[in-house]
């Protein structure tokens, strides 16, 4: 039981990270109707930016950990958001009215560009960081000596996720931008006729998605203590799986799906085999798409001629 509780905690933390990435997929799919294949790599870039800005701030002589983390968070969000904007501007916007497969292929190309760009720029080796947030609590000490641990790092990941989600929900449901986004999701032409700047709204969608992914990248860096240039690929597919599982286009669905994928992956590694944890996640993607194409919270897609 204790072991299960521990895995539950680990799964929820991992799921929070996936959920943050999945939001980017689900928003872009909802509005533009394409799978932003490069989103996983945006997450990876976010991790790298966080790493580098962290190193810089420490070298500048800052010692207050909370201040450093806050600054790193802001820098990573800003710079990665700019990456998201640039990718949309270069690779997707010219293809807005091209044939259906074009944006997807362009996105695959962009994913290669980003992966190899960071390999060229920062080298192929894994970049480790020492644990920055240490300490934690022992929730329950079992009779066999197995203790359920809740580290401060885990608390922080979940807290940051909740805060960001609250802000994001507020943004989508209460602000002008959020209204524009929802309008574009329903009908771009009509939204444009009513004075919504569609191009700007789509750009902002990518910017917000990238900012959330960068936070996920930073959390990944702090939680696992390392980044490498190839981490975006698998994390990206899993986050996409999360978005599909939750029902693509649905924001609460993305988070729910993220948590589900995180839990499944963790429990699978804990009880079955670590080697096949990715196979489990990918199989779930296939199974969900076959039996529940609309996901947990998604709306059925209407087929139009």
């Amino acid at each position: 039981m204790d072991y299960f509780a521990q895995q539950l905690i680990n799964g929820l933390v991992l799921g929070s990270i996936y959920g943050l990435i999945a939001i980017g997929y689900t928003m872009v799919y909802g509005i533009v109707g394409m799978i932003n294949f490069a989103h996983g790599d945006i997450f990876m870039i976010g991790g790298f930016i966080a790493l580098i800005s962290f190193l810089l701030l420490v070298s500048l002589g800052l010692t207050a950990i909370p201040l450093i983390l806050l600054l790193v968070l802001l820098v990573a969000m800003a710079v990665t958001a700019l990456y998201g904007w640039t990718v949309e501007r270069i690779a997707y916007r010219p293809l807005r009215h091209s044939f259906r497969l074009a944006p997807m292929l362009s996105a695959i190309g962009m994913s290669f560009v980003l992966t190899n760009y960071s390999q060229v720029a920062q080298g192929a080796r894994v970049k480790p960081v020492p644990p920055i947030i240490t300490g934690g609590y022992t929730l329950h000490e079992g009779p066999e000596g197995f203790a359920v641990q809740l580290s401060n790092m885990q608390i922080m990941v979940v807290l940051v996720t909740i805060v960001l989600l609250a802000m994001f929900t507020w943004l989508v449901s209460r602000t002008r931008l959020g209204r524009d986004m929802r309008a574009c999701e329903q009908d771009q032409t009509m939204a444009a006729l009513l004075g919504v700047d569609v191009d700007r709204t789509i750009s902002m969608t990518f910017v917000i998605g990238a900012a959330l992914a960068s936070v996920a990248g930073m959390m990944y860096l702090l939680y696992y203590g390392q980044v490498d240039f190839f981490m975006g690929f698998v994390a990206g597919i899993k986050a996409f799986t999360a978005a599909v599982l939750g029902g693509i286009g649905s924001l609460p669905g993305a988070v729910l799906g993220g948590l589900a994928i995180g839990l499944i992956e963790t429990l699978w590694s804990a009880y079955f085999s670590v080697e096949y944890k990715d196979v489990a996640a990918f199989s779930i993607l296939i199974i969900v798409l076959i039996f529940m194409p609309t996901g947990l919270l998604g709306r059925p897609e209407v087929e139009k001629v």
Partner: protein, 441 residues
């Protein structure tokens, strides 16, 4: 002076030198922010696990300068050439002469390919490269059935390639079966996998299908990587038997081909044999595809690519149609895989990554989905281009990715050409598939 040079483009935007400079400056600013941390600072793990960093402001400055200059050049080009992106229809006379040239290019290329081992008999490097190119031509033609004809985006084609390669490798090393027995088996096994994957997922459309095939490709690779008792895991399978000429080995032994023919043995014989083998396999793929295209099933594939809803309304069973396309493509992938295994003599999961799928897909897209000649030329260009960049290993995929993006922006329907459906009502030509987004609604 500068402010006076106002020209109006089609969009009604005034474009002058100040505008270009402003735009270039903005691009440079964006580039500065983008690259400041990633390029301006280099991190590396030190010997004791501690991260170290140093600055590279020189590189940063040159890249930002490059973006500034490049932005000016692109903006000038855009003014001279006119707005890009809009695909123009090729005028009919040019199209006719192009198709005439195309009619002669195909046979000429085939004759040249047949003569390659004769011309370059002593150049092992060119022969090896030729085999590599032909392998990708075959893969491209195989995937072309799925993507080009039936319009199903398959991102996991390499899975079938892997199934074919491992089928031959395992059957040959464990049971000692010969290549010629295993080749059809490898194709059949790959086709069965294609059906197994296709049956449940082909109800999905477009992007979902792409992601599921991608996931499937990764599952196959991960299973191969982890099922150590069967596949040898990351160590792969080695000692795969070389192919024989229907039982006659191509080696230096007494009953080898050279001894039987009474000529002096040379290792080049085997290379040339492999060259003609893959050429024959590729031509088989091509021939089957061309013949299938004229059968009802081929017509159904093309119709499916153009408009799925209309297909269903006409009573075409879309599931079976998709499934046959999937299985046919997978079978050719399996053949190519078996050939790959026998040529290499050693296979490991590293050869079957997603990059390989993307490369084959890029060949099909670049060749203009559906055009057989286009795919062959695209394979030649891509693999040849990869060979040119061999010295710059790390930049290769970077350039590849950029090329993919640029091609999609510049000519989304492929550089070399694109194949319109085989049957076409004359009047409907006014709205060929170039002009519509594809009828998927």
């Amino acid at each position: 002076m500068t402010a006076l040079s106002t020209e109006t483009t089609q969009a009604g935007r005034t474009v002058g030198i100040p505008f270009i400079l402003k735009k270039a400056f903005l691009s440079a600013c964006v580039a500065l922010v983008l690259f400041s941390l990633m390029i301006g600072i280099r991190t590396e793990a030190g010997p004791d696990g501690q991260l170290t960093w140093w600055t590279r402001f020189g590189d940063l400055a040159s890249i930002v300068g490059l973006v500034f200059g490049g932005s000016i050049v692109i903006e000038l080009l855009r003014q001279w050439i006119g707005p890009t992106g809009a695909e123009k229809l090729v005028p009919a006379p040019i199209q006719r002469s192009l198709s005439l040239a195309g009619r002669f290019l195909g046979p000429a290329l085939l004759v040249f390919t047949l003569l390659v081992p004769v011309i370059f008999y002593n150049q092992r490097y060119i022969l090896d490269l030729g085999i590599l190119v032909l392998t990708y031509v075959m893969l491209g033609w195989g995937l072309n059935v799925v993507v080009g004809l039936a319009g199903l985006l398959d991102l996991g084609y390499v899975a079938f390639y892997a199934v074919g390669a491992y089928s031959y490798a395992l059957l040959a090393t464990n049971f000692g079966w010969s290549f010629w027995v295993c080749l059809p088996l490898a194709g059949m096994l790959a086709a069965i996998w294609g059906v197994m994957l296709g049956f449940p997922v082909l109800r999905l459309r477009g992007d979902y299908l792409a992601i599921v095939t991608l996931a499937f490709g990764e599952i196959i690779r991960l299973v191969i990587l982890n099922w150590q008792s069967l596949t040898g895991g990351p160590n792969g399978v080695s000692g795969i038997p070389r192919p024989t000429l229907f039982g006659i080995p191509l080696d230096n032994s007494d009953d080898g081909l050279a001894a039987k023919l009474g000529i002096e043995y040379s290792p080049t014989h085997r290379i040339i044999f492999l060259f003609y083998l893959i050429l024959a396999l590729a031509l088989l793929t091509n021939w089957v595809t061309i013949r299938l295209r004229r059968l009802p099933i081929g017509r159904a594939w093309e119709a499916l690519r153009e408009d799925e809803v209309a297909c269903r309304a006409l009573g075409i069973n879309t599931t079976t149609t998709k499934l046959t396309a999937f299985a046919t493509g997978a079978m050719f992938g399996g053949f190519a895989g078996a050939f790959f295994a026998t040529r290499q003599g050693f296979i490991s999961p590293e050869s079957f990554t997603f990059q390989e799928s993307a490369l084959v897909l890029a060949i099909v897209v670049l060749g203009g989905m559906g055009s057989q000649l286009g795919v062959a030329l695209a394979a030649l260009t891509m693999i040849g281009g990869f060979e040119l960049f061999r010295g710059l290993e790390t930049y290769r995929m970077l350039v590849f990715g950029m090329a993919m993006v640029l091609i999609m922006i510049w000519r989304p329907r492929g550089i070399i050409g694109h194949r319109a459906p085989t049957v076409y009502l004359t009047k409907a030509q006014a709205i060929s598939s170039d002009l519509v987004k594809e009828g998927h609604g």
